[in-house]
């Protein structure tokens, strides 16, 4: 039986992709300080904001995030909180950090929730199980913030690109 390749050439591997998404499971705010730097973001359902893949071939993984946060009433001042897109184990280039996304936040009594987005590209080896996840990366000392784990508002989305092509 002939195989319909459309306009694709038959002498090259077929380009294929896979998609993953995790939305927060529940709806809850989490108060954090600089003591929480390095911790994974909660999913409000007892787990974490992460997605996993095991590629069959070397490939790229495009990972994007949306996270919203506000400041706690702890200083009447602007502060910076970063969420990061991370990967474990490190990717084929030795990278653990994909992208770090700064949020500009003030006390909630004045400035409400603000969403920030990030995008990262990792290069993956075949046969290894990778997890991309969201992390509390940095917060100015002496301040507090709340990030929200909500199924409508908190997401990590992955697209596995070019398996067997790159």
């Amino acid at each position: 039986m002939p195989t319909n390749l459309g306009l694709l050439p038959s002498d090259k591997p077929a380009p294929i992709q896979r998609v993953q998404i995790k939305r927060a499971v529940g709806d809850a705010g989490y108060d954090v300080t600089s003591a929480n730097n390095g911790q994974w973001l909660n999913d409000a359902g007892g787990g974490w904001m992460g997605i996993a893949v095991t590629p069959r071939y070397p490939c790229y993984w495009l990972v994007r995030s949306n996270v919203m946060a506000h400041g706690l009433n702890s200083g009447n001042n602007w502060r910076r909180w970063d969420h990061a897109i991370m990967i474990t184990p490190a990717d084929a280039d030795g990278r653990q950090y994909g992208f770090v996304c700064p949020h500009q936040l003030f006390d909630l009594s004045l400035v409400e929730w603000r969403t920030q987005s990030g995008a990262a590209m990792f290069r993956l080896n075949a046969g290894t199980t990778y997890t991309a996840y969201l992390q509390c990366q940095y917060l100015n000392p002496n301040y507090g913030i709340t990030y929200y784990a909500g199924k409508q508002f908190t997401r990590i989305v992955g697209v596995l690109l070019g398996e067997g092509v790159v």
Binding site: S10, Q20, R64
Partner: protein, 160 residues
């Protein structure tokens, strides 16, 4: 030479991803507030900001939108905007949002939203940039120009 298609049928074109994009068409300011009911946002010329697809096979639709916002009011005001899918996806999901808070003193702020929906084969789906009318009050403005306002879709059919 043999071609390993896994579980893919051989009578359809090999899945290779499909893209869609709609851009704003009006280089000007559009201002709404909490008197405007929930509805698709507009391109500034009366057209809804949306992308559509009827997939041949089940798969994932990654939908991504970008916009810039400001308020003309000298207060901190906040609201939602997002991506709305109709009909709901294979898991019953249809509504993803961002939250924004601005003041007239800071001018334009950029926002990006990304989500993914699981689609069934043979169904016509539409994804809109959505105004959920979730405002606290005051006025909210977006720029309708093509360089600052778009929604795009990336569809990836199953190959497992």
């Amino acid at each position: 030479m043999t071609i390993n298609l896994g579980n893919l049928p051989s009578q359809l074109v090999l899945p290779n991803g499909l893209g869609q994009i709609a851009r704003g068409t009006y280089d000007g300011v559009n201002t709404w507030n909490n008197t405007v009911p929930a509805q698709p946002m507009q391109d500034g010329n009366g057209q809804q900001m949306k992308v559509q697809i009827t997939p041949q096979r089940a798969g994932w639709w990654v939908v991504h939108a970008e916009s810039i916002w400001q308020t003309p009011d000298a207060v901190w005001t906040y609201w939602h905007w997002g991506i709305y899918l109709t009909p709901a996806d294979a898991y019953g999901w249809y509504d993803d949002r961002n939250h924004i808070c601005v003041h007239s003193a800071i001018g334009w702020s950029e926002q990006t939203i990304t989500t993914a929906f699981r689609l069934n084969a043979g169904i016509a789906y539409t994804a809109y940039i959505w105004w959920p009318n979730s405002t606290k009050g005051w006025n909210q403005s977006w720029w309708g120009g093509k360089d600052y306002f778009y929604i795009k879709g990336e569809f990836y059919e199953d190959h497992e």
